[in-house]
């Protein structure tokens, strides 16, 4: 029973592990670029979760080789593929917005380390 569970859920668990690695990078590191990398890892792990769910054992990619379906071919589920395909491109677009923000912060504060930015903010509030 438990071995069955391990085999049938191994994918999900590794995906969750990667998700948590991304989450950990996101909340424990102060560098903004590193945070964005962590966010990317998190994002990719969500993609993997979706694609894991769409997989059918012994299935083939959803491209109809025999269009009228006479042969008995098992296809994987195409719907998650569509969702993730667009999500990847949207993901890189939003990542670029995040990087642009990091670049502007670097120009304004001279650093992209969170604690240094906080220190600068505290100083300007105290003096101004």
């Amino acid at each position: 029973m438990s071995l069955d569970l391990l085999v049938s859920h191994y994918n999900y668990w590794v995906v969750i592990f990667l998700m948590m690695v991304g989450f950990y990078i996101l909340i424990s590191r102060g560098n903004l670029i590193k945070k964005i990398v962590g966010l990317n890892v998190f994002q990719t792990s969500v993609f993997m979760l979706y694609i894991s769910m769409s997989k059918v054992s012994a299935g083939t990619p959803p491209i109809l080789v025999d269009p009228y379906g006479e042969a008995d071919v098992l296809f994987s589920n195409p719907l998650p593929h569509v969702l993730i395909l667009t999500a990847i491109v949207v993901g890189i677009a939003t990542t670029s917005v995040g990087l642009a923000l990091a670049v502007r912060i670097k120009e304004a504060y001279g650093t992209i380390e969170e604690d240094e930015i906080n220190a600068i903010e505290a100083r300007t509030e105290a003096t101004g």
Partner: protein, 179 residues
Amino acid sequence: MLLTLLAAAGLALLKVRNLFAVVMLAGIYSLLSAGLFTVMDAVDVAFTEAAVGAGISTVLFLGALALCGHHENKPGHTPLLPLVVVLLTGGALVWGTMDMPGFGDPANPIHHHVADHYLEESYSEIGIPNVVTSVLASYRGYDTMGETTVVFAAAVGVMILLAGRLGRRPRPEGKGGSG
């Protein structure tokens, strides 16, 4: 196995503090995940991930690093609190997967909602063999249009952020960014 390699790449990402190495590792991570997508029959997705993750996004990260410097400071505070939060969240998620159907079982509910219709009818309704394309562009055309608009909006955001005041270029093309 690919998944284990991916986990190793993720851990390396966590440890390495030189951001150039981090970006390169992120590229490797993307390429590995593209391989994983191929294994799991999502060839279109693998294609996109390889082109986007290992290609464009690495170039963009390098461009941002050239502007921001590539050294990361040591994390200032103790890693204990984030670790606890992460472990709790991870534990809750693993607990959640116990109710999920097994990997790759054709009887899973996800495969019997609309996917059957797409696989059986799309050739007689749309007439192209690649089901992913016909779902993307026809059955879910609104969805894709919204996503195209989001990509465009993201580009507008980057233009506003990066082509603003400092961005007055010597070349005449820069004038569009000042608005």
